[in-house]
């Protein structure tokens, strides 16, 4: 019947954009439907609607959170977002600077590797939230320092190990070639190794943003006058599940946007990396 050869869908075959978007939307719809079903069951069992807010309640809560609070004179959601993002950016910057430097050193030099690798591996196993009390003592609770430190410390060990692994995976050929072309050791690191691992570093930082949020929210739980974690704590104290959900959804949106930004950054700084994936 058919003249055309038949194509089979195999693992890795790309989807047309329209299908991809449709499936993505379906995923979102499934989660909303799942929540709707939970609300329905909860209400059916005679549950208090306060603990299973429907979309209407969430909308009202969003309205409350985006109106000026007469007590503080500011809009809670925007102030909280701004404060949290500012701490997040600084913590991430400190953590990334530390881990990229150390990671490249570990991945490049055998002596640094021997010196640092065991202790970094051990530190990476410590849950940073267990150290909150210590961080408060060391960095004080009056400023943002302890939150930034917690965030930076939280992401650094794993990030360092990831960067080191990427640096170690740079083909020996490349390094030998660079040396034979007359490059000095610093030049090999800066011109041969680092440019090769930039896309991996961006990818690792992107993955590190997930735990970074956890540490930020944990720190804001402990001590804050603004911030998303603080907003969630207060909503909890007022038993306002609807507000908590608004904050949580907002966190998801912020996180997804950040993820997109990192993908974009990766494509802009190392377009060749995206092409390499299809090899």
């Amino acid at each position: 019947m058919r003249a055309q050869p038949r194509f089979r869908a195999i693992i890795g075959s790309p989807l047309p954009p329209a299908t991809r978007v449709a499936l993505g939307a379906l995923g979102v719809a499934l989660v909303i439907a799942g929540y709707g079903y939970y609300v329905y069951c909860h209400r059916l069992a005679g549950g208090n609607p306060r603990f299973s807010p429907g979309l209407g309640q969430l909308w009202t809560a969003l309205g409350e959170l985006t109106r000026v609070d007469p007590r503080t004179g500011s809009v809670p959601l925007w102030t909280d977002t701004y404060v949290s993002l500012w701490i997040f950016a600084r913590g991430l910057a400190v953590g990334v600077a530390l881990s990229v430097t150390l990671g490249i050193a570990i991945g490049t030099f055998a002596t640094v590797h021997a010196l640092c690798s065991p202790i970094v591996i051990a530190i990476a196993k410590i849950p940073p939230t267990a150290l909150i009390a210590l961080f408060m003592i060391a960095f004080g609770v009056t400023g943002d320092a302890f939150k930034i430190a917690l965030l930076a410390f939280g992401i650094s060990p794993t990030l360092t190990l990831g960067v080191a692994m990427a640096a170690r995976a740079v083909p020996r050929n490349t390094i030998v070639k660079a040396y034979s072309l007359g490059a000095s050791t610093p030049a090999v690191v800066i011109r041969a190794i680092i440019p090769q691992i930039v896309p991996q570093i961006i990818e690792l930082v992107r993955l590190a943003t997930c735990p970074a949020w956890i540490y930020l929210i944990a720190a804001e739980y402990v001590n804050a006058s603004e911030g998303i974690g603080h907003g969630i704590v207060l909503s909890q104290r007022m038993v306002q599940i609807d507000r908590i959900l608004v904050y949580v959804i907002w966190l998801a949106i912020l996180g997804a946007a950040l993820d997109g930004a990192f993908h974009l950054l990766s494509r802009l700084t190392a377009p060749w990396a995206a092409a390499r994936k299809d090899d």
């Binding site: 038949r6 194509f7 089979r8 869908a9 195999i10 075959s13 989807l15 047309p16 299908t19 499936l23 208090n48 306060r50 603990f51 007590r71 009390a133 408060m136 003592i137 004080g140 609770v141 009056t142 402990v222 001590n223 804050a224 006058s225 603080h230 704590v233 207060l234 909890q236 104290r237 007022m238 038993v239």
Partner: protein
């Protein structure tokens, strides 16, 4: 295109198959033999009254008698007498116990009169059956380098927002004609605030409780410029019960109240007092000396008649109006028409019922 369509089709087929599968089993008669042994044990059991009633509490000086009730078997004995099962659940984080009670997961819970408004505002019929204690210097505003409340102007102060610590500060500021916006409040758990004050000299002011208050003042690290002693009887700790549980098992309120006063007698009786204090100190992770100091800042209502009178007293009603106003102003209670009831016949969502404490 063909490839993608076939993938999509297979997904859809799978979804439909799962959906149909689900429906089919629902309609099926229960499988015989070994397939459904789960149904058997629950058969023929009167589900409602024969359950364990759960009572939440958390570590606080005035609530340590709950530890005593458990350790000395007072609760178990009283519950066995009345033929019900009651279990105490200790919460490491106080607010979690309030949330659990507010969502109906606990039948009774120890909380301050201020937090008791919240489950009530959330629709739980909340009945205060026992007054545990009132804070009498056990909560306070602790400062360094500041002389009095007026000196707080423009300063950062660490405290647990929307808690009794917050209320205490606002009452203090009120007493010298200051407003809350005159200070900068930074939300910090009261215990953390107390520790931060001791470890970080940059922290100038906190609102916290004992043992942090006497530890800091004895160590010469700070002084208390306003405390619950200045607003006697306003920071009230209560045992509240869910009215639905009291209705289902009328003996629950009696069991809890009687077991509480068993513990009070053990504390009052010179023969058992030291032992009782040692048990409570152990539960609070404090030394016996420390715990005695903590008790000094807490007025425990060991006298049953006095406790019963307190629950429905005019002064208590006036205090509750203040606490209610604070809660409405701070968004803790949204309903500005919220009312509190007193007496066994009251029907308000939050009510104080002295009949359990009064009955002998």
């Amino acid at each position: 295109m063909i490839a993608s369509r076939s993938v999509l089709a297979s997904v859809l087929v799978a979804v439909v198959a799962v959906a149909c599968g689900g429906k089919k089993t629902e309609g099926d008669p229960p499988a015989p033999a070994g397939a459904a042994p789960v149904a058997k044990p629950s058969e023929g059991k009167p589900a409602a009254p024969d359950r364990e009633y759960q009572v939440g509490w958390s570590v606080w000086t005035g609530w340590m008698p709950f530890k005593l009730m458990e350790a000395k078997g007072f609760l178990a004995r009283r519950a066995a007498d009345k033929g019900i099962r009651v279990k105490l659940v200790e919460f490491p984080a106080y607010m979690d116990s309030v949330t659990a009670f507010a969502s109906g997961k606990l039948d009774a819970c120890a909380m301050t009169a201020m937090e008791a408004l919240q489950p009530a505002a959330a629709g739980i019929d909340t009945v205060a059956i026992v007054v545990n204690d009132t804070s009498n210097g056990g909560d306070g505003v602790l400062v360094r380098g500041i002389d009095d409340l007026r000196g707080l102007k423009g300063k950062e102060i660490l405290l647990a927002e929307l808690s009794v610590s917050h209320y205490l500060l606002v009452r203090g500021l009120d007493s010298v004609g200051m407003k809350e916006s005159d200070v900068k409040i930074k939300n910090t758990d009261g215990d953390e605030a107390g520790k931060a004050f001791v470890t970080d000299p940059k922290v100038l002011a906190v609102t916290t409780w004992n043992p942090h208050l006497f530890q800091a003042t004895e160590g010469g690290k700070g002084k208390v410029i306003f405390s619950s002693k200045d607003i006697p009887g306003e920071i009230i700790d209560l045992l509240v019960a869910n009215h639905a549980a009291l209705k289902q098992a009328p003996q629950l309120g009696t069991v809890l109240t009687e077991a509480w006063y068993d513990a009070m007698r053990a504390i009052e009786d010179p023969a058992t007092r030291e032992d009782a204090i040692a048990i409570m100190a152990g539960g609070a992770h404090a030394s016996v000396d420390e715990f005695k100091k903590m008790m000094a800042g807490t007025e425990l209502y060991t006298n049953r008649a006095k406790a019963a009178a307190f629950l429905e007293a005019d002064t208590t009603r006036a205090t509750m109006e203040k606490i209610k106003r604070f809660s409405i102003e701070h968004g803790l209670v949204k309903d500005t028409q919220f009312t509190i009831g007193y007496g066994a016949k009251a029907t308000e969502k939050l009510r104080f019922d002295a009949s359990y404490a009064a009955a002998r």
